[in-house]
């Protein structure tokens, strides 16, 4: 696969680039794609987990951005605007896919007995904390795989809030949910992820 390194666009260069894009300058379009395409592809890969669909979503996102470049008012950075468009393009693809029935998240949440105590309270802290785990190279891949094990509707909210760093209101709008529902889903997704990480983190410290 041929890869072209990205050339960063400084904030002060954005107005000039926008002007060139609006004038239909082909080189400006190429610069935009080369500068932001890689980051957008990383976003769509995370959400879609399918290389072909991820590439299609990036293409859809750029075509959508090209069409609306005249309406971009420069209130946010160009990179932020394109990031949102890429997220939206990936979500459109996710919605249009026929997915297997979602597994229930309930089994991954703590159970409670009648008096409000946990049915199976944790007995001991994890053998390592997050900082020690992150010092090891393989940790990220392991956590990524556990995130992929979450039910889709919860995985999407966790990705958008904790990884893509969109705020609650933005995620609510993108997913057509209330802000309260986004918060509930995020909290449940994090608890479920804790349950998925837990078996590998039991036992004595290394």
């Amino acid at each position: 696969m041929d890869l072209q390194p990205a050339a960063a666009i400084a904030p002060e260069d954005e107005p000039k680039l926008l002007e060139a894009l609006r004038a239909g300058d082909g080189e400006a379009y190429e610069r935009l794609v080369r500068s932001y395409g890689g980051r957008m592809l990383a976003v769509t890969r995370r959400l879609l987990r399918d290389e072909e669909e991820a590439r299609d979503a990036v293409q859809d996102a750029f075509l959508s951005a090209f069409r609306s470049i005249d309406r971009f008012e420069g209130q946010s950075r160009l990179s932020t605007w394109l990031h949102r468009i890429a997220v939206n393009a990936a979500l459109m693809k996710l919605r249009s896919k026929k997915r297997k029935p979602e597994t229930s998240i309930e089994d991954l949440l703590p159970g409670f007995i009648e008096d409000g105590h946990m049915a199976e309270p944790p007995e001991a802290p994890w053998r390592e904390g997050a900082d020690a785990l992150l010092a090891r190279g393989e940790t990220r891949e392991w956590v990524r795989r556990r995130i992929d094990d979450l039910p889709e509707s919860h995985r999407t909210v966790l990705l958008l809030r904790d990884i893509e760093e969109l705020d609650t209101a933005e995620v609510a709008k993108l997913l057509d949910l209330s802000p309260g529902a986004v918060k509930t889903r995020l909290h449940r997704a994090r608890q479920a992820l804790r349950s998925l990480l837990d078996p590998d983190l039991q036992g004595e410290g290394a």
Partner: protein, 82 residues
């Protein structure tokens, strides 16, 4: 005194500093009285940290590269859509 179920329900708001002062005090009282909930809170906090870190490269920003054939496809599609 809040129950463990309420403690778990309030955890995210607690970590986001969204609990009013009186509920925050109740929450902190529970964690000091209930070691399993303290462990659960720590594990939840670590989970959030791990989740957020998963796509960040410790050595710096991930190289942002875009496959050449994708660049060509996008620019060709733009030409076709004019």
């Amino acid at each position: 005194m809040i129950t463990c179920r309420e403690f778990v329900d309030f955890m995210m708001q607690y970590l986001d500093a969204e609990l009013p002062a009186d509920e925050r005090a109740e929450f902190e009282r529970h964690v000091s009285d209930c070691p399993p909930c303290g462990i659960y809170l720590e594990q939840y906090r670590d989970t959030v940290t791990l989740g957020k870190a998963v796509c960040r490269d410790p050595e710096g920003p991930v190289p942002e590269e875009v496959p050449e054939d994708l660049v060509s496809a996008i620019l060709a599609a733009r030409g076709g859509s004019d």
